[in-house]
Each structure stands twice: as C-alpha cells, then as structure tokens.
C-alpha cells in the first residue's frame, strides 16, 4: 500500500519535472503574424525617448566618458 503511494508520487514528480523542463515549448510558439503587441514601441528598451535620454545621461556621467554608451572612439582619448 505504502509502496504504491511512493510509486505514484514518483511519477507525479517525474511528470512535473518534464513539464518544467519543456517550459513553454509545449504550448504553441508565437507565430510571426501574431507579434502585433510585441511590435509596439513601448515593448522595446528604447520605447520612451525622454526616458532613454535621461538614462543615457546618467550612464555617461557615471562612466566618466561621453559616448560611453556606444559612440565609436569614446574612452581612450585618441579620437
């Protein structure tokens, strides 16, 4: 009787592990034509221009080098 319970719970845990491993792969993937919401500007990291400029300002100030956020030649003082 007890063995039965152990066995059942073993399978339950195994099944849960498998579902966990597969993650969202079991569900259907988002198709290219279903990405309307994902394509909205607020879904990007640079959605808000003002907020982005603010973040960049703080970043370059902390870096101590203007253009530290991606402009070529920043940092070494040779350009």
């Amino acid at each position: 009787m007890k063995k039965d319970v152990i066995q059942k719970s073993f399978y339950a845990v195994l099944l849960m592990c498998m579902l966990g491993l597969s993650g969202c792969a079991l569900g259907t993937a988002v198709q290219p034509w279903e990405k309307a919401t994902l394509a909205r500007p607020e879904m990007t990291f640079e959605g808000d221009k003002l907020d982005n400029a603010y973040t960049e300002h703080i970043y370059s100030s902390k870096e101590g080098a203007s253009g530290g956020a991606g402009v070529g030649g920043g940092g070494c003082g040779c350009n």
Binding site: L15, A25, L26, G27, A29, Q31, P32, W33, E34
Partner: protein
Amino acid sequence: MKTMRFHKLKELLLAFSFCMSFSGNVYALEPGNKAPDFNLPGIQGSVQLSKTIGSVVYVDFWASWCGPCRHSFSWMNAMQEKYRSQNLQIIGVNLDAKNEDAKKFLAEIPAKFTVAFDSKGETAKQYGIKGMPTSFLIGRDGKVIYQHLGFKEADKESLEKQIKSALEAKK
C-alpha cells in the same frame, strides 16, 4: 515488478516526446512547389488564388504594425501599375488580428492592388511564413518561383528583376 515500472516509464517518455514533437513544425514553401489555394474576404468581394491562374501573382503577407510592410506599399503600388498590362497581379494578404487596424492602415496608405484579409493567419500557416513581410512570386502555372522575407530599399531591384523574368517566361 521492475519490468512493469520500466514499461510505465517508457510510456511516459514516449508520450512526452510525442507532445514535444508538435512544437514548431512549420514548413516553408520551396520554389517549384504548388502555391496553396486560398479564398479570403477582400475589399471588393472574395479573393481566390486559383482564379488568377494564367497571370503572374505576387502574394505579400503584411500587417499594419509591421514597419517594412509600410515601406513596401508604395513599391507594390508602383509595380502593379507598371506591369498590369503584362498580367501581373499583386495580392496583399493582411494578417492583422483586428480588421479595423488594417482598415485604418489602408485609409492612411491606399493600396492599388488586391487586398485580402486573413485575421486568423490560416494562409500564413499554410505558406509557412517565418517573418513579416514575406512575399511569394507565383508563376503562370501556379507554382512558387521565388520567396522573399522582409523588405528593404536594396531589395527593390532584385525583386523587380524576378517579377520581370516571371512575366517573360513562357507558360
């Protein structure tokens, strides 16, 4: 007892792999394949692909939220105008989930070619499209000649070349 347990485990694993195999199996059409027929509602009545046999068809899958699609419209309008006499037919299949979004887009950027609406994306699934926009050039025999993903300024020339050669090809 031990073999019983093994069998159960095997069954479970099999069921699991069976389920997993269903995820992400969309196959794209290859050149030379017959283009799947569709019958979709359009602006002026239904749009059916099999009715266009005999003309070269350029099927473009687009949506209102897709940036490159927006750019492609003026080019497709121009192509339709330029090659109408040679029997080119451009069909823009809209894949917006909400039809109003497409209508709003079309009010802003009018299409001078045939537009069909597929809000459920059934045709997109059939054609196995991998990105937006995707277009298919279909020859007079109803077979896919060329498939193109995306739309850039630099693509215009080669796309027009493909259209031209398809129009000049014998039946």
